[in-house]
């Protein structure tokens, strides 16, 4: 049964992972991103990164709540798509917007809290992507889990980066922050233990 479900989940993940990029590229090509296409493209890429980052935290939460570890099989890909969009977001910012003018970029980034936080998040995601290589996962052993808990730090920084983009506090960054807090709360040891106990009790019956 598991063998059957697996490819569909994988396919859905990759289709869902690449579709936003395809749509965005098409809209950009067709000049249908509004009056400021560069800004719109950067913003969309950033949002996709955030969405995949939050989605990548869901499998653990789903396992804790329902006991099903099915989604864990795509967790790595969800995380990698988050990283992909974060990289494209940063490249669009540096390239499309600032023409890779490194001196200017250095000035701008250094005096901008918003960009520093974004860069920090991107660095963490880079580290996590790197340590997703199977050989490295094996060599990290026990430490892998600890390193990958940094994903919550990255997600927090991304939400901050998003919120700081606006003059005032907006609804979507708040929604993303709330989702993040919930996902984090679920896996806090006391909460997780409680949830696990419930499953063990349920799972004790005939399956």
């Amino acid at each position: 049964m598991r063998r059957e479900a697996l490819p569909w989940l994988q396919i859905a993940t990759h289709v869902g992972g690449l579709a936003p990029l395809a749509v965005l590229a098409w809209l950009f090509w067709q000049d249908r991103l509004g009056p400021v296409p560069v800004a719109a493209a950067i913003r969309r890429l950033g949002r996709y990164a955030l969405v995949f980052l939050i989605l990548s935290l869901a499998p653990t939460a789903v396992r804790l709540v329902t006991g099903s570890s099915e989604l864990l099989r795509v967790r790595r890909w969800l995380g990698l798509y988050a990283f992909l969009y974060a990289v494209l977001h940063a490249l669009a910012f540096a390239g499309l917007d600032y023409g890779f003018d490194l001196r200017l970029l250095a000035t701008v980034v250094l005096e901008s809290r918003r960009e520093i936080v974004g860069l920090a998040a991107l660095s963490i995601l880079g580290l996590l992507a790197l340590t997703s290589i199977p050989a490295l996962i094996r060599s990290l052993g026990k430490h892998w889990k600890r390193v990958h808990r940094l994903v919550y730090v990255a997600a927090g920084l991304v939400v901050l980066h998003y919120a700081w983009n606006y003059k005032e506090l907006r609804r979507w960054p708040v929604a993303a922050g709330t989702a993040l807090l919930l996902l984090l709360a679920i896996r806090l040891p006391p909460v997780a233990r409680l949830l696990r106990q419930r499953h063990n009790a349920e799972g004790a019956g005939p399956t």
Partner: protein, 328 residues
């Protein structure tokens, strides 16, 4: 509307030629010098164009507006800038009374009732007065091509139609106690769905120091690109202060008060550490969360370096001796 549609007079496509023509003749400066308030028989005999009224007291010791009248050369230089296409000027707006989305303002604001319209001008003045739209339009309208720099890091070059605020202020005769001007936007929940969101305290309020308000660069705009102001751009009458971040250029004004104390603007009230009273464009003073070193030039896909006072150097004397980082 019974008013003549000014688009009949100035089609968009002849703008470039006309601009060069005007620049060549120094006509803007001339128009400003000749501009008298035709419908103001009670206007006092202050020398044109926009002399600081004898009754007004500039806070800082500054040159009068007469001395800072635009000189033709400077104007010509400014006119060389490529205008931002009308579609962008009218399609990318911040007008929080309608929505926080810059691209949705135009649609939501399109039915804004701008006629009849009244601007109540009072406070510390000898001659408080309510100006109807016709009274506003009676001030000689001239064209001013200004760059507008938004605090968010983008800019547009817009051909405004309007007249120096000083002319309106002169008409109400500020008293010697008047040191600041406080402006207020319409706040009509029936027409402005954005008033439901509490991001700012409504009505929107802005303010200028008296000498800033009397400066010749400061205008009340009633049109752009030769047409009436579109609602999303602040119809029927708005402030334009080109050396300050865009949020200072308050839209759809219904009330102007001359006051003694520095007004607290809506953005100052919302985030005092991020938005100050002066809000002068300054690449050296970053917003607490982002750089102001450059700006995205809307309609070009490019960036330009942001200039101190948005390039309007002639206002520098207004801030002589002031710490611009402290008075952000």
């Amino acid at each position: 509307m019974s008013k003549i549609d000014r688009s009949d007079i100035t089609p968009e496509h002849v703008y470039l030629n006309r601009r060069q023509l005007i620049a060549g003749m120094g006509a803007l400066a001339a128009a400003s010098l000749l501009g008298a308030c035709a419908r103001e028989p009670e206007a006092e005999a202050t020398p044109p164009p926009t002399g600081v009224s004898s009754t007004a007291t500039p806070v800082a010791d500054t040159p009068s507006a007469t001395e800072t009248a635009p000189d033709p050369t400077a104007m010509t230089e400014r006119l060389e800038e490529k205008l931002t296409p009308l579609d962008d000027v009218a399609g990318y707006n911040n007008f929080y009374e309608f929505t926080l989305s810059k691209t949705k303002v135009a649609e939501l604001a399109k039915d804004l009732e701008t006629s009849p319209w009244e601007v109540e001008v009072g406070g510390l003045v000898r001659n408080p007065r309510t100006f109807g739209l016709d009274d506003i339009m009676a001030f000689e309208q001239e064209e001013r091509i200004y760059r507008m720099r938004c605090v968010e890091g983008w800019s547009m070059v817009i051909p405004w139609l309007g007249f120096p605020l000083a002319k309106l202020l002169d008409a109400v005769e500020p008293t010697s106690e008047a040191r600041f001007v406080r402006f207020q936007t319409l706040a009509d929940p029936e027409q402005m769905p954005g008033l439901n969101t509490r991001v700012l305290s409504w009505p929107y309020v802005e303010g200028l120091r008296m000498d800033e308000a009397m400066h010749d660069l400061t205008i009340l705009a009633t049109g752009l690109y030769g047409k009436d102001l579109p609602p999303q751009n602040g119809a029927p009458v708005r402030l334009v202060v080109p050396w300050k971040y865009g949020f200072k250029s308050i839209k759809s004004i219904v009330k102007i008060d001359l006051v003694a104390e520095m007004p607290v603007s809506s953005w100052m009230a919302a985030a005092p550490r991020e938005y100050g009273f002066y809000a002068n464009v300054n690449p050296e003073v970053p917003h607490p969360r982002w750089s102001q070193a450059t700006e995205r030039v809307i309609g070009t896909g490019k960036r330009r370096k942001t200039e101190l006072f948005n390039g309007y150097d002639e206002v520098a004397p207004l801030y002589e001796g002031m710490d611009l980082e402290e008075n952000f």
